[in-house]
Symmetry: C2
Subunit: 468 residues, 2 copies
Amino acid sequence: MKPLSATDNLFLMLEKRQQPTHIAGLQLYDFPEGAPANYVSRFAEELRQYNQPVAPFNQRVTYRFGRPYWKADSQFDLEHHFRHVALPKPGRIRELLALISAEHSNQMDRERPLWESYLIEGFKGRRFAVYSKQHHALMDGVSAMRLGTKMLSTDPNERNMPPVWAFDLKSKSDAKLTNRLDATTLVAAARAGIRNNLTAIPHVAKAVRDAWRKSKTDSAYTSIFQAPQCVLNDRITGSRRFAAESFSLARIRAIAKAFDATINDVVLAICGSALRDYLLDQNALPDQPLIAAIPVSLREDESIGGNQIVTILANLGTHTPDPAQRIQIVKASVQEAKQRMKTMSQQEIMAYTALMLTPAGMQMLTGLIPRWQAFNVLISNVPGPKQPLYWNGARLRGMYPVSMPLDRLALNITILSYHDQLEFGLTACRRTLPSMQRMLMHLESGIEALEVAAGLSCSHRNEMELSW
Amino acid sequence: MKPLSATDNLFLMLEKRQQPTHIAGLQLYDFPEGAPANYVSRFAEELRQYNQPVAPFNQRVTYRFGRPYWKADSQFDLEHHFRHVALPKPGRIRELLALISAEHSNQMDRERPLWESYLIEGFKGRRFAVYSKQHHALMDGVSAMRLGTKMLSTDPNERNMPPVWAFDLKSKSDAKLTNRLDATTLVAAARAGIRNNLTAIPHVAKAVRDAWRKSKTDSAYTSIFQAPQCVLNDRITGSRRFAAESFSLARIRAIAKAFDATINDVVLAICGSALRDYLLDQNALPDQPLIAAIPVSLREDESIGGNQIVTILANLGTHTPDPAQRIQIVKASVQEAKQRMKTMSQQEIMAYTALMLTPAGMQMLTGLIPRWQAFNVLISNVPGPKQPLYWNGARLRGMYPVSMPLDRLALNITILSYHDQLEFGLTACRRTLPSMQRMLMHLESGIEALEVAAGLSCSHRNEMELSW
């Protein structure tokens, strides 16, 4: 019996019907070459043989004197966790995303190990899908993604590869998962944990006052005080909509080069463009630009390891119809925010982040209204595997993060790089943000607009069908 | 806000991971004549239009000062409750029952109205299935079955028929659901509610003493003290196995006539035969005959209405290999038990039933060991619709009850009559009773053995594939 960490427990405490705190990943695979039509059924039989899960997949939450502990599940039942299901006809992306949307709305069974894995057949074109759902208390999104790719191989001929719940991480020497917290963790921790950071507040008050003063004199400056009110920040319900799309990394790189910007800048500008178009459709675009919270690395050279990840706020430039102007606004606001972070100590950064992310924290210092919101949307851009990966000969065609909207943060956008693609996963409250899946088309339009603005040829198309 | 009845609340209190307290029904339909291949998808679209559920399907449980109430769900989300899913290939009964087994293992979301309905496509042979799951707190099994058939029509040409959650019972004059409690309710209420019946115990003590005395002198007499220890009465886990089969009512009637027995007697004898064969396979057949608890009507003429339903114990004759002897034992024990009930007042019957059904109650009076069990298995035989029914032109081909094993009652057998069939639904803990689905074959063998013993021609075969 091992006690849950404070962060893990946080996600149990934050969970409610309107706000389930699980995360997931969707992987799309091609059938291996020469596989028979009933390949998925056979594969399901194979996977069922792995009925002895390794930690943490065999651990469930138990309480002792009111404190939560991890404990091995003595009644582990693989049939609850591993499910072989099929898409209704005609088995398009539309049916797949509908299934994921429905399953992602369901809270997990707290009395069992907090994971589920769906092997999905009936996906047309000799493909299948895997939807892997974990409670955030079990594993954060980045760790789940890394574990889910560590178990894969660059060798299309490798076989007898176990599923993730039976994959012994220790058997791979390079496979140590970092303890990097994902953006969702930071936000949730900040929202709930502000009291723990109170001791750091004196260090931070000056930075807050500086930001406040600057916001009044410098209109181009993205302060932490200017996120507009927006439908994105209404209360959420328990209904989820998931939408996903792959875009060519080469297209994004070409745009970044043309504007002397980073990949991350381009991603944010595209998101800004899509949010603008979506909110215009909904007749709900604020006059002021939307503000995104994004986790970034403060190190210029990421190869030396030990990333220092902080959450900064970026101006998405949604107020302007001009794509070139938008990307310049994004770029400037990201650079400015990084610069500010670099002048602060680690403790100051933590406390500052907490203040920035939590309305309660801000209210304490400023006396602003509770409805006040420091940012409108959470956008995470996570580096993923650079080479094509295979699972028992099945090529991983795409992988999409399915994340966690929070109350007053009805949309989560997580982007993952994989081989030559950028994989966008959009997870939202279906009621707060109706027809959110249209954002996929708006993302494509956003890329095309930047290509036109940069004078690039606009010939590439995205890889998945836009079938919604 | 309406408070939950004590019985409804009981099922919330009894629920735990190992013992979910929901029940369900599985209906199999033929496609309507001339329906296109994508009929089920279209039908799903139609059903999604019914997004305003009627009571009780719009009610969720809420707590006020620690007491549970029913309250309309202001965030009702049909996509959580109605799900369009597909069977993996090849879409046989095997895949269907595997899906039902898995879904029936999942606890329901207590924060939402306590029902789910699955429209299942990919069932081979131009068929589809509907799995309707309700928490027992919302509706007992018999009421659910009746409601689920009231909404159907005997007219194959009727259209625009709503799903059960939008079916307004009040619009049909004859549609009042009786308040008849099903057997599961009786058992659960007796187990948990024994204290409430304490005042009646003096009235009952004499009957108990009589039974005890008689059990010592009359070996053919089914007392309430002779249920043998059996694997059927081990602790259960949360894993379910569901198995179902249709048998020809004409075959059962012919056997009943040959042995001058009731349909119910024959059903019990067949169950006894199948249990004997199954337990022999498992090397776990007790020397003493198994005892079943069964709800019966005390009225000879059921047409006058106002059934008086009581739960009696019947000797299943599992100790003998002779089918003719077995049915005579069943018949005698049922008659004797009914006779005893008729000499008791309603209050005495209630209290007696409570004592009989609850080990705790018995222990109070007898000082027997806690492991003591009054009976081994719960068998309910419920009369259903006599005519073929249709839903928007789709003929109802079969309907099977999916019930609720309880701790120390690892198997529930519920039988439903429909048109010219007897529909057997067997629900068990998959771990306590491995390969329980083999009981389906043993049921068929049991019928054949009785046909041979009665000198009947044994030409009929059951209607569903025995594909496990």
